[in-house]
C-alpha cells in the first residue's frame, strides 16, 4: 500500500514537465474569430436598436396624427428618443473599435 502511494506521488511529480511546453493561447486572440464575433454582436445591437427606434418613431407619428398642434413637444420627444437609442449602439461600437483591431 505504501509502495502504491509512493508510485502515485512519483507520477504526480512529473506534472511540472507540462510547464515546459510553450503557452498555446498567449494572446487570447481568435484571429478572424474576433471580427466575426464583433460583427455578430454589433448586428444584434443594431437590430434591437432599430426595433426600439421604430417604436419611438411610430409613437411620435401617432401622437402627431392625433394632435398636430402639439408638434413642437412631440418633435422634441422624437429627436431625444432616437438619439438616446442610437447612443447605446454607439457605445458598443466604440468598445469594438477600440479593442478588436488590436487583437
Amino acid at each position: 500500500m505504501r509502495k502504491l502511494g509512493m508510485l502515485i506521488m512519483l507520477g504526480l511529480m512529473a506534472a511540472p514537465a507540462f510547464a515546459q511546453e510553450p503557452a498555446a493561447a498567449a494572446s487570447h486572440s481568435l484571429g478572424v474569430g474576433n471580427w466575426a464575433l464583433a460583427a455578430i454582436g454589433l448586428g444584434i445591437a443594431v437590430a434591437c436598436a432599430a426595433l426600439g427606434q421604430g417604436k419611438v418613431a411610430s409613437a411620435a407619428c401617432e401622437g402627431l396624427a392625433r394632435n398636430p398642434a402639439a408638434r413642437p413637444g412631440i418633435q422634441l420627444a422624437l429627436i431625444l428618443g432616437l438619439a438616446f437609442v442610437e447612443s447605446l449602439v454607439l457605445f458598443i461600437w466604440v468598445m469594438i473599435f477600440l479593442k478588436v483591431p488590436n487583437a
Binding site: L76, I79, L80, A83, E86, S87, L90, F91, W93, V94
Partner: protein, 242 residues
C-alpha cells in the same frame, strides 16, 4: 503624423514657444517641431471663426435696420432661450450664454469636417470629452451655487434609510453622464467620417454625397442633443425643493 495645411501653418509660426511651454509644464513632446496636433489646430480655427462672426454681429447691431447676421443670431439665441425656459424654468437666463456658446462651438466643430483641407476636432475623443467635462463641472457648480450644501440631497433620494446605497448609485450615474455625453458626440461624428470613407472607397462618384448630407444632419442633431442634455442636467441640478 499627417498635418493639415492649417496645422502646418500654426506649427511653423508657434512650434518654438509651444514646445517650450509644454516642456516647462512637464509634458514630453514627441515631435518638437510640430507640437500642435490637428484637432487642437482645428479647435483654434473654429474659435477664431466664431469670434470673428461675433465681432461682425456686434459691429452691425441695430434696432431699426437689423441685418442678416443679427436676424440669424437673434434666432439662435431665441431658440436656446425658449428651450431653456421650457426645461429649466425660472432663472434660466444665467445659463443661456454658456449654452449658446457651447452649441455654436460644437456645431462649427462638427461642420468644419466637411471642408476639404479641414477635419472635425470632435472626431477625436479628447474634444467631446473636454466639452462634456466643462458642462459637467458647470452644472455641478451651479447646483452648489443655487442650493448651497443642500445640493447633496439631490444624491440621497427620498428615503433616508436607503441613502448610502442611493449615493453610490447617483455617483456612478453622474459619471456615466460624462461618459455618455462624450461618446455620443464622438462616435456619431467619427462614425459619420468612417462611413463616408467606406462608401467613398466603393463608389467614388455621387453616393458619398448622401453620406455627407447625413453627416450634416447628424452634426445639427448631435449639437442639439448635447445642448438639450446640458439644459436637462442644469435644470435638475438647480431645482429648488419648494
Amino acid at each position: 503624423m499627417h498635418q493639415l495645411p492649417f496645422t502646418a501653418l500654426l506649427n511653423k509660426l508657434l512650434a518654438g514657444p509651444v514646445t517650450a511651454v509644454l516642456t516647462a509644464m512637464g509634458f514630453h513632446v514627441h515631435h518638437p517641431e510640430a507640437p500642435i496636433a490637428n484637432y487642437v489646430a482645428m479647435q483654434i480655427f473654429v474659435v477664431v471663426i466664431a469670434v470673428l462672426l461675433f465681432i461682425a454681429v456686434r459691429a452691425t447691431l441695430s434696432v431699426d435696420n437689423p441685418g442678416f447676421l443679427q436676424h440669424m443670431f437673434e434666432g439662435i439665441h431665441g431658440f436656446v432661450s425658449n428651450q431653456s425656459k421650457e426645461i429649466i424654468g425660472h432663472g434660466h437666463a444665467t445659463y443661456d450664454s454658456y449654452l449658446t456658446a457651447l452649441g455654436i462651438f460644437i456645431l462649427f466643430s462638427n461642420l468644419v469636417g466637411l471642408f476639404p483641407a479641414f477635419e472635425a476636432p470632435t472626431a477625436f475623443p479628447y474634444v467631446p470629452f473636454g466639452c462634456a467635462l466643462v458642462t459637467w463641472f458647470y452644472y455641478h457648480f451651479h447646483g452648489i451655487r443655487t442650493n448651497g450644501f443642500a445640493y447633496i440631497k439631490h444624491f440621497l433620494g427620498p428615503i433616508w434609510a436607503l441613502s448610502p446605497l442611493l449615493f453610490v448609485i447617483e455617483f456612478f450615474s453622474h459619471l456615466a453622464r460624462l461618459m455618455s455625453l462624450t461618446i455620443r458626440l464622438f462616435a456619431n461624428i467619427f462614425a459619420g467620417d468612417m462611413v463616408t470613407l467606406a462608401f467613398f472607397s466603393l463608389v467614388p462618384i455621387g453616393l458619398p454625397l448622401l453620406f455627407i448630407g447625413l453627416h450634416i444632419g447628424v452634426s445639427f442633431i448631435q449639437t442639439y442633443i448635447f445642448v438639450l442634455l446640458a439644459m436637462v442636467y442644469l435644470g435638475e441640478a438647480t431645482a429648488h425643493e419648494h
